[in-house]
Amino acid sequence: MKPICAAVSSTGAWAVAAVGIVFLAAVPASRAADPTPPAASVTFEQDVLPILRTHCLNCHNGLKPKADLDLRTRDAILKGGKHGPSVVPGKPAESPLWDEIASGNMPRGKAALTDPEKQTIRAWIAGGAAGRPAEVVRLPERSPGQQGRDPVAMAALIDREIDQRLARAKVPASPPADDSAFLRRVYLDIVGRIPTAEQAAAFLDDENPDKRRKLIDDLLASPEYGTHFGTVWHNLIVPLDENKRRIYQPPLMQWLADDCNRNEPWDKTVKGLLTAEGAIAKNPAAVFFTTNPEPNQLTITASRLFHGLKLDCAECHDHPFTRWKQQDFWGMAAFFTQVKANREAVTEAPANRAKELKTPGAAIVIPATAFTGAGSEIRGRFLGGAQPVLEDKGPLRPALAAWITSEQNPFFARATVNRLWSHFFGRGLVHPVDDFHEDNPPSHATLLALLADEFASSGFDRKHLIRCLCLTKVYQRSSRPVAGNEADALLLSRMAVKVMSAEVLFDSLGVALGFENLGTPPKALNSLPVAFQRSLGGNARTQFVNFFKDPNEQAEAMDYGHGILQVLRLVNGPQFNNGGLTVNSLAKVENPSRALEALFLSTLARRPTAAEVQRLSPYLARQKNLRDGYAGVFWILINSSEFLVNH
């Protein structure tokens, strides 16, 4: 093991950037090595900042701080504003911040702080106004030239990080998930649908002790992996339309699906997206530009996707709560100024702009719609990095694409591993996933650095990363709480309970209804949904997705987003009452236990418990005919929360 701090790094400067609040070396190296203080001590980030956020930051933020006093960071408080330093560490009586709060002078015209809140601030100052010591990131050695680690070894490293934290917090972990919970989970996460009854039975009856690893490999090798992740990336790239509808761009979806299935290195894929030119018909990656047609929209989408940053605010003014300035936003937007996109094609058009600009190379004029800075000319600049020398005539995007995917970019690998982590665990190590900033440190800084390092050194190999994640004990834990970990939402002591996305729900309903029996068109996007959709006609899947997707765009994987109308569709929809091919195939099965087994496997990927057989058998016996009874049980199962959640 060797420590990494701001001055020493095994993998280049970008690894440093992964260290929680010290990223971008905003803090001297010595602080990263501070010993961890006892948990009880009051720190700025944990205790004080939440209070300030609630009561003070509306006025004392970075935009136009009242009295020039910015209270967002410890350093800014120590520096103070118009009236000098706001806090004298160790001396509340000499600290204007405490004086103003204690006297009730601040916050002005708003709810006063409660006594406990005041005491927290006093205790913080009295205790030396400490900041939270950054987690010291130590990455395991890798031999020179070694690329990706062995996935099993890597999974063990991940487990160790998580388990050490749990042990320190004295939170017990839930036991491993049983086979059927694991089976259903890994299908939903990797191929975006539940397993068929046959697939479920085969796995449950397989006695090979290595069957979980084999299933992960099989699913990653299946073309459905690409279909599922193609949809996931597609939905991140293509914004909703003005009526908040999801409009699919099938060429891009297929392009991404093929890209995933070929397991192209992610840096290559991103370069392909960022430098796409020509007609969509020939190069579907161009959809990135046809659906994000303006430099500002491109900057927002690219920052969220490839940097894990929400730069939106900085479009119109310096970001009030983070370090990003308006110059950073437009510095990136400048690289997109030569893009000309219409609905069908993208071209690079340098001639358009040369005359309005004073500086050569990438530059852009902040438009009049901005609150500040309108009219000023901003030169192209990599985010938090250098200002490249560029040819006046461009093209500009290859330079940006090269930098975004390079080791000099501190954000790229972290943003991607964090997003993939959140796909599998329901929550990012930095959360929300696209909100990396100083005040929002990762829950597990070392783990994030480790994953980013692994991802980069494996050549941005997504399948490799997914394999590492799915092989962990953490991923294979039960979602059921045990005594002592009920309240944990952060330390990964049990698996998160995620809600199926609208696409996954549609495809899984198709599987439950038995549509795989209709055959598998080999080149279709996804054979199962296509068959299901064909049976419903038209663009049923798109309609379903727009009806069922969470209306809250900020919704998270663990949020239940259905309302009464969605429930009523599932309750009264004709297919869901009739049970489709699955129930048809049982029409002549007279043995209720056998039929129940088939119904449970088709929907919940498990066999019924004895109690369930006992409860449902009398119901079946009461029905006029077999089919009615089986359709009733099918209805019950697909309407249960066990069906809808990925647990």
Partner: protein, 461 residues
């Protein structure tokens, strides 16, 4: 509560108990229990008034609607003209002639202001009364009404929204909105696919399945799923579903509300696109009449950075027709005094022009503006026919009687008969008894319905 995890246990237990209680599990089961009670008249003895929120998403220009500046500088004045109203001394925009005739039923609040001029924080602030904080989600005012007017016998959802987002926050998921994307659709799934008896058997078995699963996996999503199913089956059992069916209304009424209006064209991307606002208002009246205490109807074409004058000409007429029809209709049915109508967006627009393009004229717009803008209240038994607050001659600042978001929320809650000083425990979503307010005993996290420092607009009461 002996362990350090007591809070989460109590929250789960509470959810379980409240769902079970409302389901009538002790009686004849999920379905039966509800069927027996669903026939009771909803809203009887309810003290809380109904509320219809007409949400003007994007932030409508106060200068082109209810706070015109005919004597201001050229850009504050704009291109539209004011007209006299039925109340001497009050003028509003020429494109609101019907509302001008009904100004006696309106209270125009011209001195609204806050500090969050964007479409992320502004709407949340104005719909919840609080800025969104990472660790605490405050409920939408509709969810508060749902919690305060909780009535297990209503047989209809308490909070219906024709298109919105913020949910129940820290309140129980069952107080979240029933979202109708399109007020004319959504009833196709209201018909049972099987007969009532068969359905009842299935529902009882589903309930058993759910209970067992939830016992093992007490996740928030599972609780929310159960709650949504409870509400949905309750709705199927009520005889009030026809309230959602606009086809029951005579053509004349639908016309008066401005239904079937052709989509506007040529108003730029922000002003164009179909709005079914008339249909939404008509649905709101039917639902309120059937006992739904909170309905939100959204009209989201007000972010007029460009094409502002033609946009207001079109959308002004939309709200003029629909809102005036709503007021008249509620009045005729004797429901106006017991129904508060709120017309507002998340902000207003700048007194200076914004020139969105190179073509000059039609692309003139106004930018986001929160320093001084207007909201309108109607009905609810308020003292209407008055203007509250005053802005400067150019509309750039509030000169008299500033109204902050907490002031506004307190006014709304007071009008509805809700004690706005009340505290809820954000950890379990339950109200805190009066005697224990402010106390953090038992790990409670007391949160007021309205941020402290509120001054309701007393002139209205």
């Amino acid at each position: 509560m002996t362990s350090s995890h007591g809070n989460s246990i109590s929250r789960r237990d509470w959810l379980r108990l409240s769902v079970a209680g409302a389901l009538g599990l002790s009686g004849s089961g999920w379905f039966g229990g509800l069927a027996n009670r669903a026939s009771g008249a909803a809203g009887q003895g309810r003290k809380i008034k109904s509320c219809i929120l007409l949400w003007m998403g994007g932030g409508p220009s106060q200068l082109e609607t209810f706070d015109m500046k005919p004597d201001g500088p050229e850009e504050s004045r704009g291109e539209l003209k004011p007209i006299a109203t039925s109340v001497p001394g009050i003028q509003i925009c020429e494109h609101l002639p019907k509302l001008a005739q009904q100004t006696g039923d309106l209270a125009i609040l011209r001195s609204m202001s806050h500090n969050f001029p964007d479409h992320d924080r502004g709407p949340i602030l104005m719909q919840t009364g609080f800025i969104r904080r990472p660790n605490l989600a405050h409920p939408h005012m509709g969810a508060v009404v749902s919690a305060e007017a909780d009535d297990p016998e209503r047989g209809l959802p308490a909070f219906v929204s024709v298109g919105t987002v913020p949910g129940p926050g820290f309140l129980s998921p069952r107080h979240g909105p029933m979202i109708m994307g399109d007020p004319t659709k959504g009833t196709e799934d209201f018909k049972l696919a099987t007969d009532t008896q068969k359905f009842g058997q299935r529902v009882e078995l589903l309930q058993a399945q759910e209970e067992e699963f939830h016992k093992h996996l007490p996740a928030q999503a599972v609780a929310a799923h159960r709650s949504a199913y409870l509400q949905a089956t309750r709705l199927l059992n009520s005889n009030k579903l026809k309230a959602f069916d606009l086809a029951e209304e005579p053509v004349k009424v639908r016309e008066a509300y401005g239904c079937n209006r052709p989509a506007p064209k040529g108003l730029g991307k922000r002003g164009s696109g179909e709005v079914k606002f008339g249909e939404g208002c008509l649905l709101a009246r039917r639902l309120v009449e059937a006992g739904v205490p909170f309905v939100e109807v959204c009209h989201n074409r007000w972010d007029n950075h460009d094409y502002i004058f033609p946009s207001i000409q079109y959308h002004g007429a939309v709200i003029d027709d629909s809102m005036s029809a709503l007021i008249v209709d509620l009045k005729e049915r004797g429901l106006l005094d017991s129904t508060l109508i709120i017309w507002m967006g998340e902000m207003g627009r700048t007194p200076k022009f914004q020139r969105g393009g190179t073509n000059g004229g039609p692309t003139v717009g106004r930018d986001h503006f929160t320093a001084a803008y207007t909201a309108v209240l109607a009905g609810g038994g308020l003292k209407t026919g008055q203007v509250i607050g005053r802005t400067s001659k150019d509309g750039s600042a509030v000169e008299d009687r500033p109204i902050s978001p907490p002031d506004f929320m307190a006014t709304v809650y007071k009008a509805l008969g809700i004690d706005f000083t009340k505290e809820y425990n954000a950890r379990d979503g339950k109200p805190i008894e009066a005697a224990r307010q402010g106390s953090q005993a038992n790990g409670a996290q007391p949160v007021r319905l309205v941020e402290k420092g509120e001054k309701p607009v007393e002139e209205l009461f």
